[in-house]
Subunit: 411 residues, 2 copies
Amino acid sequence: MSRLVQKFGGTSIADVARIKKAAEIAVEAAYNGHEVVTVVSAMGDTTDHLIELAEQVNGTPNPREMDMLLATGEQVSIALMSMAIQNLGYQSRSFTGAQAGIITEPNHGLAKIQKVQPDAVDASLARGEIAVIAGFQGITQNNELTTLGRGGSDTTAVALAAALSADRCDIYTDVKGIYTADPRLLSEAQRLPAISYEEMVELSSTGAQVLAATSVELAMDSNVPVRVRSTFEPGDDGTLITNRLVSPDYTVCSISCDMTQAAITIKSENARLDGISNLFTRLQELGIHTDMLMLLAHEDEPAQEVAFTVEQRALSRVQSIIESNGMALGNSRSSVDTDVARISVVGRRLTSRPEIIASVFEALQIGGIPVNMVATGDIRVSVVLPAKYARKAVRLIHSKFGLHEGCFIAH
Amino acid sequence: MSRLVQKFGGTSIADVARIKKAAEIAVEAAYNGHEVVTVVSAMGDTTDHLIELAEQVNGTPNPREMDMLLATGEQVSIALMSMAIQNLGYQSRSFTGAQAGIITEPNHGLAKIQKVQPDAVDASLARGEIAVIAGFQGITQNNELTTLGRGGSDTTAVALAAALSADRCDIYTDVKGIYTADPRLLSEAQRLPAISYEEMVELSSTGAQVLAATSVELAMDSNVPVRVRSTFEPGDDGTLITNRLVSPDYTVCSISCDMTQAAITIKSENARLDGISNLFTRLQELGIHTDMLMLLAHEDEPAQEVAFTVEQRALSRVQSIIESNGMALGNSRSSVDTDVARISVVGRRLTSRPEIIASVFEALQIGGIPVNMVATGDIRVSVVLPAKYARKAVRLIHSKFGLHEGCFIAH
């Protein structure tokens, strides 16, 4: 008997009709002989509504109390989901994060899972029940409720799949899988039947909204195959994320596009390196992720130019750090550009293939699209360019690699 | 330093503005030098809304899953209440029933509190925080969430007050206290400054909606003084429920009126007593409470007449029990009257005072009001009469005992 974890996100259980649909998917899997664990998020925009309520009560709500509040969203979902499964004549039992043994660090709002103690869930499966688990939440060793932050329910699902030695973790969502490019941007984008963990981490980090990078990393570390598939067309196979398909050749599988970045440039006449190191230490302490870092220096003069991107929502914090580092950075001027897109070509074994970069530049040149920044790695090549060219750039690069016919594999 | 438990019901925290008002009451008590524990219900009609959702998903929702669902209502309230208190600059911490150590039996939907382990709440008070506790809910020894049934938040408040050796438990509600009669029925009804536990239990059992009888019994057993007072006029003293004011004389304090009862009469030609005993054993097993029981038998013939009242919502179950006992009850006919009111005169030391019954009958006679059933006890005298006379009967009896001038005390 194989063991399956199914995760249903907020849009997949947004109302009673959709909850019933999700319950049917779970029960069908059970009738097909699987042991089934379902992990559910809060219904639709419940979480946003609760945050709004909190802000009406207190402009700066306490993170502990916020977790206490938000955890109710998933608890409503598990009870209703379990009732819906029982309504179909199947045995079911719901579990809060605490009851499911999701033990986390005490970092409210962004708690990391420390360990999973799935004994109660295991016992439920042994009794022949479908176990319904609240995603996004856990409990500390001190009995405090916590939430996991963005993408938390995916993380719960993958962590449970690992702890329960599940054969697969199915992420049911409102898209049909992972595509060669965002199908909302590009109609000829193709669904990928499969993709490697590494590429998926990179896609998630560079703009794909389907799955949080942290949950893909967790799946990779625990070697849990993950399938992304549509709640509304559960017959489709979606996209399998796994290690099993690794080929020795280099591949280009997908183009991601992220409009949420801001490009920052700092020019200095006499900046010292310790100033720059201070800046990045401080950014790291605050958990602000930077990308596209480049540094230009000249041996014969102290002048330096540093450029990088950060998420736009972190911009005000970044700017105040730059200002407070003003002295150490010397006589510097910084500029910010939020009107940019970061386009990433995601694949495998790209480092030693300069033809990838050449192809990207050729595609952009054909479109007369200027490039502000470039960064390359083994799994991706990213370019930052003016936002107004984003869609055109995705189309041209997608076409250059022939992705409308699926993944590009070099031979 | 005195220790105070405050309980705020659903209407007292129905929206953000009222939550802020309740938080002010709690903080004011804390600034006045009290250690403060607040117990809150679900906001407004949250519970009804959740029940509705559940019934859309499953016509006969599983009691365990129902508890999982309903427990979220109070959890939302504690988080928001705690945030509101923090917004006033006071330290606060919220506790689910489980975190507050409310340990119950596993009887879902109607769980009784087995014990309270208030160590975490005690520690919170010791840190100078206002502790905010989810009413109505608890946890079993097996880590299952439970709810306490109707009036459950009052029970939580009183049980915590007892376990924490609180000096008083204040029940904040949408009325100003306990009255000599329901002020919605009778404008000249007077608020009582104080009332004994026994009388309050009886008032709650016979129709007063303010406080559940079980929580008053718990207060009596643990000798916790309870004050019923208005959230909207917190300056008013409300009504104190206590043992301290017991006088040696008989008193009549309040007239209650209950329109939710049904009168049942069973006439039998040859019923045997074991049939009747079966009937009541079965009713007790199902937790169906009967009142006004009377039995008429004649020594020289087997004919018997049994009459009693039950809550109307239990009526269909009672009728099917009567039918299934058809044989044992002999050749019997039963009749049901739901168009009745039970009017109760509640006081102390009434048993040995036939003038009480005389006064009640005089009052009803003046109004030309027929009486169907009568029952007397030490704490109350109840009459069942046609519903259409209810308001008139309350007015006449209230006036007969001079209750518009407050409690009647015999000298």
